[in-house]
């Protein structure tokens, strides 16, 4: 049995120092994913740097508009926050569509972004997985992959990112605040997670020792139409077969603002930039919406057993976008 060091950090600086001082350290927040992976032998950190009690547990309105969400804000608290519910319903809905009540009560905002794929081959150290052990191959490609990626996958990895929350954040154009040895930096959520390419072992662009301190939501007026919809195998406590998060503001009969992201389809929340570009400035008719969604999903490359995800995602996106467009979408 490998002993695991444990350090409880009281400040961001202390956490970063502890991480730097312990090779093989991992940050621990809610632990809902990391601890499972430790039990499975997928993760074996030498030291856990507990960041769950850092003073990063508040949701603050920013002076110029927008919200700053501390990294340790619990998923259930964030979903219930009045400002989130009022201005960012897509985020609240996405959070509530994820995991179970018990998990949401302990899982954090930062941890949710950093959760790892639930690909069964990744979770089983007795099987090949390029993400867990680079160079061993991909077990899912020949094995079971009904739940795997249809967009942006590579020969080395077909895993999907499991988060619902991150899909909403991508559609909202949120940014991630990171603290590292070289100071603070920000990364758009849509660029925070990587595509697998030849390095599926790297889920995100986060650097060694960098710590998520917050997620910042851009300004949104109360009532900005946004929504999240998820299709799954059972009504609760199941990962998305496909999901869509969308923000759509219509003024004078044309789309003034749009953000669309898919979940369950790719190695990262899939920001549908082609669809967004096709809709921006256009009338949100059913026909235009369908064309925009197709422009995005025409890039899909389904595997042997997951072709259903493409029409599923198409249906979800069309329905959510026409719902947000309201009467303008009707023929």
């Amino acid at each position: 049995m490998r002993p695991v060091g444990y350090v409880r950090a009281r400040s961001v600086e202390e956490a970063a120092a502890a991480h730097a001082g312990h090779p093989g350290a991992r940050y621990l927040a809610g632990g809902t994913n990391l601890v499972d992976l430790m039990k499975l032998g997928v993760e074996s950190p030498g030291t856990l740097v507990d960041v769950s009690r850092l003073p990063l547990d508040t949701v603050e309105p920013l002076p110029g508009g927008g919200l700053r969400i501390g990294a340790t804000v619990r998923n259930s608290d964030l979903a219930a926050h009045p400002l989130v519910r009022a201005s960012y319903p897509v985020l609240s809905q996405a959070l509530l569509a994820g995991a179970s009540g018990q998990l949401r009560n302990i899982a954090t905002t930062g941890g949710n972004l950093l959760q790892r794929t639930r690909c069964p081959y990744f979770q089983d150290p007795a099987k090949p997985c390029n993400k867990r052990e680079p160079g061993t191959g991909c077990g899912a490609r020949e094995g079971g992959h009904r739940d795997h990626a249809v967009l942006g996958h590579s020969p080395s990895c077909i895993a999907t990112h499991p988060s619902d929350m991150a899909v909403a954040l991508a559609a909202l154009g949120a940014t991630v605040e990171l603290h590292g040895a070289d100071g603070a930096r920000t990364v758009p959520v849509g660029q925070f997670h990587r595509l697998p390419g030849d390095h599926p072992e790297r889920d995100t662009v986060i650097g060694p020792g960098e710590l998520i301190t917050a997620v910042v939501l851009p300004e949104a007026p109360a009532g900005l139409p946004s929504a999240y919809r998820k299709a799954r195998d059972r009504a609760s406590y199941a990962f998305a077969l496909a999901s869509v998060a969308a923000v759509l503001e219509v003024a004078d009969g044309v789309v003034r603002q749009v953000g669309i992201a898919f979940g369950g389809l790719a190695h990262r929340p899939w920001r549908a930039e082609r669809a967004e570009a096709a809709l921006l400035g256009a009338a949100p008719t059913g026909e235009n919406i369908a064309r925009a969604v197709d422009a995005e999903l025409d890039r899909a490359e389904p595997l042997r057993d997951n072709a259903f995800k493409v029409p599923l995602a198409r249906n979800l996106a069309r329905r959510v976008l026409t719902g947000l467009a309201g009467p303008a979408a009707r023929p």
Partner: protein
């Protein structure tokens, strides 16, 4: 809480047979004081923990086991391997011959066992054992025409592997209305809340007595197996299964964990606890084998069946033949002059399948009752009328008269309660926005099984009684119902009766399985109590301090070949909504109406019926295990991946029953109720999905990947 019949003014007196009595151990369970197998209050000093090592090839041989790294870890006491493990006696069940040879019959088969001071150390040691294999090409793909398939002499339950009456092919070919359809039920897993777990210790200076706490559905069967394997007289083994956190059949036979725990305890000289991790369960404690069904129904235009054929293909492992008897219900259900039923089983490099709630009936009735619905649609006939039209006078397969059969009454009572009379039969016409809604019905059946049991009843001087029987309460309420049976037979208050169950120190009894527990144990309890009443009548004066005891053994009565076909019947109704955007199916309402003899306790009976229906909902919509063609194991390794229904999936579920008097069963007049709830539910839901959408899906479960493309 929903009011029940038993709350009316005509309700039986509290605690007597038929009363709505709460579980006697309910408080212990909800307060956490009920102890399960590996959480006995008094873990002895020096207790060690074991962790098995599963094989990582689907077929082959172990060529070497390197234990050096594992043994070097702190706290590690031993690593048992096929080379070092104690030799066992002959295992009647080959799945219990653990660590006895180097063969790997399937992925997940145990090839070593680590024993250490703590569970964490044992897990780490198991992970550090290095196994070398000579892997061989494997075959895990079941097909209906697999060249290795054969028709077994018997299927599970001793049922004939095949049967034929008349000329089913010619009658089918000549029938004016025909259904020829293929259905598929995937592998399924029992996944009880409490994993398979055991705590074993050898007592005495020379380890002459083995005591095992095991999470099992039948402690006597576990004792018999351990006696054979360890070469001991049964009297030198005690097996205790006081509380069991579910089993659904997977704990109905002794399982390898209990053998390993006893082996490790003997090898190390320490008491040993072994709780199988969830991820190992799918390979070593059984599963419902996948079944491929071909149904052929030939009928006259008035709906009268002239030919019924049900052919089933299924798999078993290389080491043990288990045949899911899914074609058997077709021998029970409907009158037809011509009939064919058959099973074809293919041994593959897969884990050994076994019992899962209503083996045979659950998948078989899914197929048969789906085909009946297809026939009703083809005929333009109400599906209830079609079933009534084909109600047999005697059991079709055996020609025996039924001891009681009230299927038609269940269908009619269900139709009344469900509002079936208002149903528009047209499929695919009820749209609410993106949702299509529909309703479906299916029949259910489950055989009346009973096994010999012994029991004793003791009258104490203070006016109280103790009833002893090695029954197992796997969460069903067996303990409570047995107390009610005893109180009824003794003419005593429930509070005056103490029931002792769950130990081989008690009078021997059969397992909790086949929905036979209450009948089997209850019969013996009833007889013992009746005998005690007679003894008390003859007794004069004060009772001796040790009380008066009477015993019973129902071997003769319960083994007598019945002159009747004995089955419970039921009718299931479902209302579903199908989301045409996503292909997601949601059940809105489920109703079950049962004819299952006398209901002995409405509260625990309702829980069994409803629990079975929820499990049937899972079988219809959410549950499946995927045999990985490349690696030869089941992909779904935990409860995040294996989708049992969540609360949000389970809607308004209602269970009712009709009063059924049957004098050819047992002294209580009861039929088993633990399994019938699952039987008709999947077909009722599938038929409702057809009614909602107009699309017939024949491959369970009805997940979006299947439903959405079919709607396109």
């Amino acid at each position: 809480m929903r009011p029940t019949a038993a709350t009316s003014t005509l309700a039986p007196a509290s605690g007597s047979l038929g009363a709505d009595t709460a579980r006697l151990e309910g408080r212990d369970k909800v307060t956490g004081t009920a102890r399960y197998a590996t959480e006995q209050a008094h873990t002895p000093p020096g207790c060690a923990y074991a962790w098995p090592v599963p094989a990582t090839v689907a077929r082959g041989r172990v060529t070497a086991v390197d234990t050096a790294a594992a043994l070097a870890l702190p706290g590690v006491l031993a690593v048992l391997t096929p080379d070092t493990a104690p030799r066992l006696g002959h295992a009647e069940d080959p799945t219990l011959a653990v660590l006895q040879d180097h063969r790997v019959p399937h992925r997940g088969w145990f090839v070593a066992l680590a024993v250490a001071e703590t569970p964490e150390q044992a897990r780490a040691a198991a992970g550090a054992v290095r196994i070398s294999y000579a892997a061989e090409p494997h075959d895990v793909a079941l097909t209906a025409g697999h060249p290795d398939g054969y028709v077994p002499e018997t299927a599970n339950g001793g049922e004939a592997g095949s049967s034929r009456r008349g000329d089913p092919e010619a009658a089918f070919d000549a029938a004016p209305v025909r259904i020829d359809a293929a259905y598929r039920v995937p592998p399924l897993h029992n996944h009880p809340m409490e994993p398979h777990a055991a705590f074993a210790h050898w007592d005495g200076d020379r380890a002459e007595h083995l005591t095992v706490y095991d999470s099992s559905q039948g402690a006597n069967a576990v004792r018999t197996a351990l006696a054979q394997l360890f070469g001991l007289a049964e009297g030198r083994i005690t097996v205790i299964s006081e509380h069991v956190g579910g089993g659904f059949g997977s704990k109905g036979t002794p399982r390898p964990h209990v053998v390993l725990a006893a082996m490790a305890a003997r090898h190390t000289g320490r008491p040993v606890k072994l709780a199988l991790p969830r991820r190992q369960l799918s390979a070593v404690v059984g599963h419902r084998a996948p079944t491929l069904h071909r149904l052929r129904l030939g009928a006259e235009r008035d709906g009268t069946l002239v030919s019924v054929s049900h052919e089933v293909a299924t798999h078993t492992s290389r080491i043990k033949e288990f045949v899911e008897q899914a074609a058997v219900p077709a021998r029970v259900m409907y009158a037809s002059p011509h009939s064919l039923t058959s099973h074809r089983v293919t041994p593959l490099d897969v884990p050994t399948p076994s019992w899962m709630r209503a083996p045979g009936e659950a998948p078989g009735m899914y197929a048969l009752e789906s085909a009946m619905d297809e026939l009703a649609v083809e005929l333009g006939m109400d599906p209830i009328d079609l079933r009534v039209r084909n109600e047999p006078v005697t059991e079709p397969g055996s020609g025996l008269p039924f001891s009681s059969r009230h299927l038609v009454e269940c269908l009619r009572e269900g139709a009344r309660r469900f509002g079936w009379g208002d149903r528009d039969p047209r499929p695919g016409v009820r749209r609410e926005g993106d949702l299509l809604t529909g309703t479906g019905v299916a029949a259910a059946t489950y055989p009346v099984l009973v096994a010999p049991s012994t029991a004793s009843a003791t009258a104490h001087p203070g006016g109280t009684f103790t009833v002893r029987v090695n029954a197992t309460d796997i969460g069903t309420g067996a303990r409570t119902v047995l107390a009610q049976i005893a109180a009824g037979a003794l003419g005593a208050a429930l509070s005056a009766v103490r029931v002792e169950i769950g130990s081989t120190r008690l009078p021997a009894a059969p397992l909790a399985g086949g929905s036979s527990g209450t009948a089997s144990w209850g019969w013996a309890v009833h007889e013992a109590c009746a005998a005690l009443v007679d003894r008390l009548a003859d007794h004069h004066g004060a009772l001796p301090p040790e009380g008066l005891t009477a015993t019973a053994d129902t071997t003769e009565a319960a083994s007598a070949a019945p002159a009747f076909a004995r089955h419970a019947f039921g009718a299931h109704f479902a209302e579903v909504q199908v989301d045409t955007v996503t292909g997601e199916v949601q059940v809105r309402r489920l109703l079950g109406v049962y004819a299952a003899g006398r209901i002995l306790n409405p509260r625990t009976a309702r829980s069994q019926f409803v629990g079975g229906m929820v499990m049937g909902l899972g079988m219809a919509l959410t549950e499946h295990s995927t045999m990985d063609p490349a690696f030869g194991d089941f992909t779904e390794a935990d409860l995040a991946m294996y989708h049992v229904p969540a609360h949000a999936d389970v809607p308004d579920v209602d269970a009712h029953w009709i009063d059924e008097e049957d004098h050819y069963l047992n002294p209580m007049g009861s039929k088993g109720i633990g399994e019938i709830g699952i039987v008709g539910t999947p077909a009722a839901i599938g038929n409702a999905v057809h009614h909602a959408t107009g699309v017939r899906l024949r491959h369970l479960p009805l997940t979006p990947d299947r439903v959405l493309p079919a709607l396109a």
